[in-house]
Subunit: 121 residues, 2 copies
Amino acid sequence: MNPPQYDPELQESLRLFKAEIFQALAHPTRIAMVELLRQGELVSGAFTEALGIEPANASQHLAVLRDKRVVKKRKEGNQVHYSLRDPSLIEILDLLRGYFERDLRESYAMLREIVTEGQPR
Amino acid sequence: MNPPQYDPELQESLRLFKAEIFQALAHPTRIAMVELLRQGELVSGAFTEALGIEPANASQHLAVLRDKRVVKKRKEGNQVHYSLRDPSLIEILDLLRGYFERDLRESYAMLREIVTEGQPR
DNA sequence: CGCGTATTTGCGAAAATTCGAAATCACGCG
DNA sequence: CGCGTGATTTCGAATTTTCGCAAATACGCG
Protein backbone atom coordinates (compact mmCIF):
# COMPACT_ATOMS: atom_id res chain seq x y z
CA MET A 1 0.00 0.00 0.00
CA ASN A 2 2.59 2.49 1.03
CA PRO A 3 4.41 3.59 -2.09
CA PRO A 4 8.18 3.53 -1.80
CA GLN A 5 9.69 6.72 -3.10
CA TYR A 6 11.98 4.95 -5.55
CA ASP A 7 10.50 1.66 -6.55
CA PRO A 8 11.98 0.58 -9.89
CA GLU A 9 8.95 -1.51 -10.75
CA LEU A 10 6.61 1.36 -10.05
CA GLN A 11 8.78 3.58 -12.17
CA GLU A 12 8.59 1.08 -14.96
CA SER A 13 4.83 0.70 -14.84
CA LEU A 14 4.49 4.45 -14.66
CA ARG A 15 6.53 4.77 -17.81
CA LEU A 16 4.42 2.13 -19.46
CA PHE A 17 1.33 4.06 -18.50
CA LYS A 18 2.70 7.29 -19.85
CA ALA A 19 3.73 5.59 -23.06
CA GLU A 20 0.19 4.30 -23.47
CA ILE A 21 -1.26 7.75 -23.06
CA PHE A 22 1.10 9.13 -25.66
CA GLN A 23 0.37 6.20 -27.89
CA ALA A 24 -3.31 6.94 -27.59
CA LEU A 25 -2.71 10.49 -28.77
CA ALA A 26 -0.23 9.56 -31.48
CA HIS A 27 -2.70 9.88 -34.30
CA PRO A 28 -4.13 13.02 -35.91
CA THR A 29 -7.68 11.73 -35.81
CA ARG A 30 -7.50 10.91 -32.13
CA ILE A 31 -5.97 14.27 -31.35
CA ALA A 32 -8.84 15.91 -33.17
CA MET A 33 -11.25 13.80 -31.14
CA VAL A 34 -9.75 14.86 -27.84
CA GLU A 35 -9.76 18.47 -28.92
CA LEU A 36 -13.41 18.18 -29.84
CA LEU A 37 -14.10 16.76 -26.41
CA ARG A 38 -12.52 19.77 -24.80
CA GLN A 39 -15.90 21.44 -24.80
CA GLY A 40 -17.81 18.52 -23.36
CA GLU A 41 -19.62 15.33 -24.20
CA LEU A 42 -20.14 14.23 -27.78
CA VAL A 43 -22.14 11.47 -29.39
CA SER A 44 -20.28 8.94 -31.45
CA GLY A 45 -21.91 10.14 -34.65
CA ALA A 46 -20.72 13.69 -34.06
CA PHE A 47 -17.13 12.57 -34.60
CA THR A 48 -17.83 10.92 -37.93
CA GLU A 49 -19.56 14.09 -39.06
CA ALA A 50 -17.06 16.60 -37.72
CA LEU A 51 -14.05 14.70 -38.98
CA GLY A 52 -15.46 13.32 -42.19
CA ILE A 53 -14.61 9.73 -41.40
CA GLU A 54 -16.59 6.51 -41.46
CA PRO A 55 -18.43 5.31 -38.38
CA ALA A 56 -16.32 2.17 -38.25
CA ASN A 57 -13.15 4.19 -38.31
CA ALA A 58 -14.37 6.57 -35.63
CA SER A 59 -15.39 3.65 -33.49
CA GLN A 60 -11.95 2.15 -33.81
CA HIS A 61 -10.17 5.27 -32.74
CA LEU A 62 -12.61 5.76 -29.91
CA ALA A 63 -11.90 2.22 -28.84
CA VAL A 64 -8.21 3.04 -28.65
CA LEU A 65 -8.94 6.10 -26.55
CA ARG A 66 -11.19 3.97 -24.37
CA ASP A 67 -8.60 1.23 -23.91
CA LYS A 68 -5.99 3.76 -22.88
CA ARG A 69 -8.48 5.32 -20.50
CA VAL A 70 -8.47 8.71 -22.15
CA VAL A 71 -12.22 8.85 -22.67
CA LYS A 72 -15.22 7.20 -21.10
CA LYS A 73 -18.46 6.22 -22.72
CA ARG A 74 -21.99 6.65 -21.51
CA LYS A 75 -24.82 4.87 -23.23
CA GLU A 76 -28.08 6.66 -23.49
CA GLY A 77 -30.71 4.76 -25.36
CA ASN A 78 -29.69 4.40 -28.90
CA GLN A 79 -26.46 6.33 -28.86
CA VAL A 80 -23.19 6.54 -27.05
CA HIS A 81 -21.81 9.66 -25.43
CA TYR A 82 -18.09 10.17 -25.05
CA SER A 83 -16.26 12.49 -22.71
CA LEU A 84 -12.78 12.99 -21.34
CA ARG A 85 -12.09 10.87 -18.32
CA ASP A 86 -9.80 13.41 -16.76
CA PRO A 87 -10.01 17.11 -17.64
CA SER A 88 -6.38 17.58 -16.73
CA LEU A 89 -5.60 16.13 -20.11
CA ILE A 90 -6.62 19.53 -21.36
CA GLU A 91 -3.86 21.05 -19.29
CA ILE A 92 -1.41 18.71 -20.88
CA LEU A 93 -2.62 19.62 -24.34
CA ASP A 94 -2.33 23.29 -23.47
CA LEU A 95 1.19 22.79 -22.23
CA LEU A 96 1.97 21.01 -25.44
CA ARG A 97 0.56 23.89 -27.40
CA GLY A 98 3.23 26.12 -25.93
CA TYR A 99 5.77 23.48 -26.75
CA PHE A 100 4.59 23.27 -30.32
CA GLU A 101 4.67 26.98 -30.77
CA ARG A 102 8.23 27.17 -29.57
CA ASP A 103 9.20 24.29 -31.79
CA LEU A 104 7.48 25.73 -34.82
CA ARG A 105 9.20 29.05 -34.27
CA GLU A 106 12.53 27.26 -34.14
CA SER A 107 11.80 25.33 -37.29
CA TYR A 108 10.80 28.48 -39.05
CA ALA A 109 13.99 30.24 -37.97
CA MET A 110 16.04 27.32 -39.17
CA LEU A 111 14.22 27.27 -42.46
CA ARG A 112 14.83 30.96 -42.96
CA GLU A 113 18.46 30.46 -42.14
CA ILE A 114 18.78 27.79 -44.77
CA VAL A 115 17.07 29.96 -47.33
CA THR A 116 19.24 32.98 -46.67
CA GLU A 117 22.27 30.74 -46.60
CA GLY A 118 21.65 29.92 -50.24
CA GLN A 119 21.60 33.59 -51.12
CA PRO A 120 24.71 35.36 -52.44
CA ARG A 121 26.03 37.79 -49.92
CA MET B 1 2.09 32.38 -45.69
CA ASN B 2 -0.27 34.44 -43.62
CA PRO B 3 -2.03 32.09 -41.22
CA PRO B 4 -5.80 32.47 -41.08
CA GLN B 5 -7.15 31.96 -37.61
CA TYR B 6 -9.23 28.95 -38.62
CA ASP B 7 -7.61 27.29 -41.56
CA PRO B 8 -8.69 23.65 -41.70
CA GLU B 9 -5.54 22.64 -43.49
CA LEU B 10 -3.37 24.37 -40.95
CA GLN B 11 -5.34 22.67 -38.19
CA GLU B 12 -4.76 19.36 -39.87
CA SER B 13 -1.03 19.81 -40.33
CA LEU B 14 -0.79 21.06 -36.78
CA ARG B 15 -2.47 17.89 -35.58
CA LEU B 16 -0.11 15.86 -37.68
CA PHE B 17 2.75 17.64 -36.04
CA LYS B 18 1.37 16.99 -32.60
CA ALA B 19 0.82 13.36 -33.44
CA GLU B 20 4.49 13.07 -34.33
CA ILE B 21 5.56 14.46 -30.98
CA PHE B 22 3.26 12.06 -29.18
CA GLN B 23 4.57 9.27 -31.31
CA ALA B 24 8.09 10.18 -30.26
CA LEU B 25 7.14 9.70 -26.61
CA ALA B 26 4.95 6.66 -27.17
CA HIS B 27 7.52 4.16 -26.01
CA PRO B 28 8.61 3.30 -22.48
CA THR B 29 12.27 3.34 -23.39
CA ARG B 30 12.06 6.79 -24.89
CA ILE B 31 10.15 8.08 -21.89
CA ALA B 32 12.84 6.70 -19.65
CA MET B 33 15.41 8.46 -21.79
CA VAL B 34 13.65 11.79 -21.47
CA GLU B 35 13.33 11.31 -17.73
CA LEU B 36 17.01 10.51 -17.47
CA LEU B 37 17.73 13.74 -19.30
CA ARG B 38 15.85 15.65 -16.64
CA GLN B 39 19.09 16.14 -14.77
CA GLY B 40 21.10 17.24 -17.75
CA GLU B 41 23.28 15.99 -20.54
CA LEU B 42 24.04 12.33 -20.99
CA VAL B 43 26.36 10.44 -23.28
CA SER B 44 24.85 7.87 -25.56
CA GLY B 45 26.47 5.02 -23.72
CA ALA B 46 24.90 6.08 -20.44
CA PHE B 47 21.48 5.17 -21.80
CA THR B 48 22.48 1.65 -22.76
CA GLU B 49 23.90 1.16 -19.29
CA ALA B 50 21.08 2.77 -17.32
CA LEU B 51 18.34 1.03 -19.28
CA GLY B 52 20.00 -2.27 -19.94
CA ILE B 53 19.53 -2.15 -23.69
CA GLU B 54 21.86 -2.67 -26.60
CA PRO B 55 23.74 0.25 -28.08
CA ALA B 56 22.04 -0.17 -31.44
CA ASN B 57 18.65 -0.07 -29.81
CA ALA B 58 19.48 3.01 -27.79
CA SER B 59 20.77 4.70 -30.89
CA GLN B 60 17.55 3.96 -32.74
CA HIS B 61 15.38 5.42 -30.01
CA LEU B 62 17.63 8.43 -29.73
CA ALA B 63 17.31 8.89 -33.47
CA VAL B 64 13.53 8.96 -33.11
CA LEU B 65 13.78 11.55 -30.37
CA ARG B 66 16.18 13.51 -32.53
CA ASP B 67 13.99 13.38 -35.62
CA LYS B 68 11.01 14.61 -33.67
CA ARG B 69 13.13 17.36 -32.17
CA VAL B 70 12.77 16.21 -28.59
CA VAL B 71 16.50 16.01 -27.93
CA LYS B 72 19.60 17.50 -29.46
CA LYS B 73 23.04 15.99 -29.79
CA ARG B 74 26.46 17.44 -29.19
CA LYS B 75 29.58 15.65 -30.27
CA GLU B 76 32.59 15.85 -28.06
CA GLY B 77 35.55 13.85 -29.20
CA ASN B 78 34.76 10.20 -29.10
CA GLN B 79 31.26 10.38 -27.76
CA VAL B 80 27.90 12.03 -28.28
CA HIS B 81 26.08 14.02 -25.64
CA TYR B 82 22.32 14.27 -25.62
CA SER B 83 20.11 16.82 -23.92
CA LEU B 84 16.50 17.96 -23.92
CA ARG B 85 15.72 20.59 -26.48
CA ASP B 86 12.86 21.98 -24.38
CA PRO B 87 12.73 21.37 -20.61
CA SER B 88 9.00 21.95 -20.48
CA LEU B 89 8.62 18.35 -21.56
CA ILE B 90 9.46 17.50 -17.98
CA GLU B 91 6.44 19.46 -16.80
CA ILE B 92 4.25 17.43 -19.07
CA LEU B 93 5.63 14.18 -17.74
CA ASP B 94 5.09 15.43 -14.19
CA LEU B 95 1.51 16.27 -15.01
CA LEU B 96 1.06 12.76 -16.29
CA ARG B 97 2.20 11.39 -12.96
CA GLY B 98 -0.75 13.08 -11.26
CA TYR B 99 -2.93 11.76 -14.01
CA PHE B 100 -1.65 8.28 -13.37
CA GLU B 101 -2.33 8.49 -9.65
CA ARG B 102 -5.88 9.60 -10.22
CA ASP B 103 -6.31 6.72 -12.60
CA LEU B 104 -5.07 4.24 -10.05
CA ARG B 105 -7.40 5.63 -7.42
CA GLU B 106 -10.30 5.27 -9.79
CA SER B 107 -9.42 1.70 -10.62
CA TYR B 108 -9.15 0.92 -6.93
CA ALA B 109 -12.52 2.49 -6.19
CA MET B 110 -14.08 0.55 -9.00
CA LEU B 111 -12.53 -2.65 -7.77
CA ARG B 112 -13.84 -2.07 -4.26
CA GLU B 113 -17.26 -1.32 -5.63
CA ILE B 114 -17.30 -4.59 -7.50
CA VAL B 115 -16.22 -6.45 -4.41
CA THR B 116 -18.82 -4.90 -2.10
CA GLU B 117 -21.43 -5.38 -4.76
CA GLY B 118 -20.99 -9.10 -4.42
CA GLN B 119 -21.51 -8.92 -0.66
CA PRO B 120 -24.91 -9.59 0.90
CA ARG B 121 -26.24 -6.47 2.54
C1' DC C 1 -39.55 -8.38 -37.15
C1' DG C 2 -37.17 -4.42 -39.53
C1' DC C 3 -34.24 -0.25 -39.18
C1' DG C 4 -30.69 2.71 -37.99
C1' DT C 5 -26.75 3.40 -34.99
C1' DA C 6 -22.43 1.43 -33.05
C1' DT C 7 -19.18 -1.77 -32.49
C1' DT C 8 -16.47 -5.81 -33.66
C1' DT C 9 -13.87 -8.80 -36.80
C1' DG C 10 -11.06 -10.22 -40.83
C1' DC C 11 -7.61 -8.95 -43.90
C1' DG C 12 -3.90 -6.78 -46.59
C1' DA C 13 -0.63 -2.89 -46.50
C1' DA C 14 2.34 0.12 -44.04
C1' DA C 15 5.01 1.33 -40.06
C1' DA C 16 7.52 0.35 -35.73
C1' DT C 17 10.69 -2.49 -32.92
C1' DT C 18 14.44 -5.30 -32.19
C1' DC C 19 18.88 -7.45 -32.85
C1' DG C 20 23.24 -8.77 -34.92
C1' DA C 21 26.58 -7.50 -38.23
C1' DA C 22 28.94 -4.14 -40.63
C1' DA C 23 30.34 0.69 -41.29
C1' DT C 24 31.94 5.35 -39.24
C1' DC C 25 34.35 8.26 -36.46
C1' DA C 26 37.78 10.15 -33.13
C1' DC C 27 42.02 8.99 -30.78
C1' DG C 28 46.31 7.32 -29.38
C1' DC C 29 50.33 4.66 -30.43
C1' DG C 30 54.04 2.31 -32.72
C1' DC D 1 51.13 7.44 -41.48
C1' DG D 2 48.80 3.19 -40.79
C1' DC D 3 46.30 0.56 -37.34
C1' DG D 4 43.71 -0.98 -33.47
C1' DT D 5 40.23 0.34 -30.11
C1' DG D 6 36.14 2.10 -28.07
C1' DA D 7 31.83 4.61 -28.99
C1' DT D 8 28.06 5.28 -32.01
C1' DT D 9 25.43 4.80 -35.97
C1' DT D 10 23.64 2.45 -40.02
C1' DC D 11 22.03 -1.66 -42.48
C1' DG D 12 19.25 -5.73 -43.17
C1' DA D 13 15.96 -8.83 -41.93
C1' DA D 14 12.45 -10.90 -38.90
C1' DT D 15 8.67 -10.04 -35.88
C1' DT D 16 5.03 -7.29 -34.09
C1' DT D 17 1.83 -3.57 -34.19
C1' DT D 18 -1.12 -0.24 -36.38
C1' DC D 19 -4.39 1.40 -39.90
C1' DG D 20 -8.25 1.67 -42.85
C1' DC D 21 -11.65 -0.50 -45.35
C1' DA D 22 -15.44 -3.78 -45.79
C1' DA D 23 -18.33 -7.29 -44.08
C1' DA D 24 -20.55 -9.14 -40.17
C1' DT D 25 -22.57 -8.58 -35.73
C1' DA D 26 -24.85 -6.46 -31.73
C1' DC D 27 -28.11 -3.24 -29.71
C1' DG D 28 -32.17 -0.26 -28.83
C1' DC D 29 -36.48 1.03 -30.59
C1' DG D 30 -40.78 1.27 -32.85
